[in-house]
């Protein structure tokens, strides 16, 4: 289970909203491909991206200017393409759908089509956007509900004075295997590292980063990568940064879009240990 992404989602979009797309990426900045995958993952899919574009401009979902939205959507797609990322098929499918709607709207309308919503691709798209937004909001509401492990603590008591041999729990080995898979899935990159015992350790790298943040208050994101270590080294550094950010031990900041990211230590919260 991946937790909330620490990367700011504005990265590719400020460029678009300013009205002109970026021609090329700054050459001096090495961005590990994983980082961009994560930017892409900020959106849950084409519907989410479209909703973002619509809501960002306070547009009425029932009356979206298809031309404008299509144009923005395409710009996003092209930037992602420029970064040489593989775009999920769903995004391309949506691009095709938008292009189709656009072309239909540009054609003179036949009189009998005005009334019938049924096969109007706009109607279908709007309905899907509405349904997706409804679920998106519901998921946010669900996330706010008080829940176990975060808001609810059970009141427990000691029962060791009770004299009975509790029947012992029955466990099958596959339960253990299932459980282990859960752990692997949850922490996949990290556990991959732990289990295969690679020489590069995310934990060591985390310590290293925290150490360098003790001597200097701000470190450039790119300075944390040593290209000589190759791909694995870059990935380990990157994971270490993500882990630290997730643990709220560091802060990743960016002065302006596509400026170099810089890392600083967060003031540690005094954590309780019992």
């Amino acid at each position: 289970m991946s937790s909330q992404l620490p990367i700011k989602e504005e990265i590719p979009f400020r460029a678009i909203v300013d009205g002109k797309p970026y021609e090329e990426l700054p050459k001096d900045l090495y961005i590990p491909p994983e980082a961009l995958d994560i930017v892409l993952e900020t959106f849950e899919g084409p519907l989410d991206l479209l909703l973002y574009l619509i809501r960002k401009q306070n547009l009425d979902i029932l009356n979206i200017p298809i031309l404008k939205i299509t144009q923005q959507y395409m710009e996003y797609i092209s930037i992602v393409g420029e970064l040489k990322l593989e775009l999920a098929a769903e995004y391309l499918l949506m691009a095709a759908l938008l292009a189709e709607i656009k072309s239909r709207l540009l054609l003179p309308r036949k009189a009998e089509q005005i009334e019938g919503d049924e096969d109007d691709p706009r109607a279908v798209l709007i309905r899907r956007l509405q349904e997706y937004e409804r679920i998106k909001n519901a998921a946010e509401a669900l996330d706010e509900l008080p829940r176990m492990e975060r808001d609810i603590t059970l009141a427990t008591i000691d029962t060791s004075i009770v004299e009975v041999q509790r029947p012992k729990a029955e466990v099958q080995f596959k339960d253990i295997v299932f459980a282990l898979q859960g752990v692997l899935k949850r922490a996949d990159q990290l556990s991959h590292h732990v289990i295969t015992k690679e020489p590069l350790s995310v934990k060591d790298r985390m310590n290293h980063i925290m150490l360098s943040l003790q001597s200097q208050s701000r470190v450039l994101f790119t300075a944390l990568f040593t290209l000589e270590e190759g791909r694995a080294g870059v990935v380990v550094s990157f994971l270490a940064i993500l882990e630290l950010s997730k643990a709220e031990m560091i802060e990743i900041t960016q002065v302006e879009p596509f400026a170099e990211l810089s890392i600083s230590a967060k003031t540690l919260r005094k954590e309780m240990l019992v």
């Binding site: 289970m1 849950e44 200017p65 409804r134 519901a138 998921a139 059970l154």
Partner: protein, 188 residues
């Protein structure tokens, strides 16, 4: 209830002790089943006692709360921030993908994986479904009678228990879909 059963207040103490001792929420049936066959209290009697216990704890730091699979004692929300200080580790966060998937299952159940993909507009990974099955938040409840007979997923009581809910009706209301009436003059 037979005459062998302890007097009223003692009966209340037994129910209270059982609710405190149990690892998981206890339903009226489960509480009933603890008593010997001839002394089984009626559910109504247990319910009365539970209501009394609820009011006993009104001024305390804990409360008897009803979730989908029964009653459990839990620390009141007002004390949650203090209790959180006891635990050094941060609670797990769930990804949007997972929350959206479980929301679709909860609100539209029973649904197939295809239904979820249709609403979210992206494919749903096998991992995601198995995470939800592992957590016992969802289960397979039959198959849809279409080609391929895809599994139909529904939420479980454990899902409701986890989110402190007694039933699906207690979930936040789903917003109404605005009526769609595409006018001819719709903006291009």
């Amino acid at each position: 209830m037979s005459e062998n059963i302890p007097v009223e207040s003692e009966f209340k103490k037994i129910i209270e002790a059982l609710l405190f001792a149990s690892d998981s929420p206890m339903s009226l049936q489960q509480l009933q089943a603890v008593f010997p066959e001839l002394e089984t209290p009626r559910k109504q009697e247990i319910q009365t006692v539970i209501d009394a216990i609820c009011s006993d704890y009104q001024t305390s730091a804990i409360e008897l709360h009803q979730v989908a699979s029964g009653w459990r004692f839990q620390v009141k929300a007002e004390q949650a921030s203090w209790v959180a200080r006891l635990f050094a580790q941060k609670p797990p966060k769930y990804s949007r993908a997972l929350l959206e998937t479980i929301a679709i299952i909860a609100y539209q159940q029973p649904v197939t994986r295809g239904d979820i993909e249709e609403i979210r507009g992206v494919s749903v990974s096998t991992n995601m479904i198995s995470t939800l099955l592992d957590r016992e938040w969802v289960k397979v409840d039959g198959h849809k009678e279409v080609p391929g007979r895809p599994a139909l997923y529904v939420t479980t009581k454990q899902f409701l228990d986890y989110f402190n809910l007694a039933s699906l009706e207690d979930m936040p209301a789903l917003q109404e879909l605005e009526v769609l009436a595409i006018a001819g003059e719709m903006a291009i």
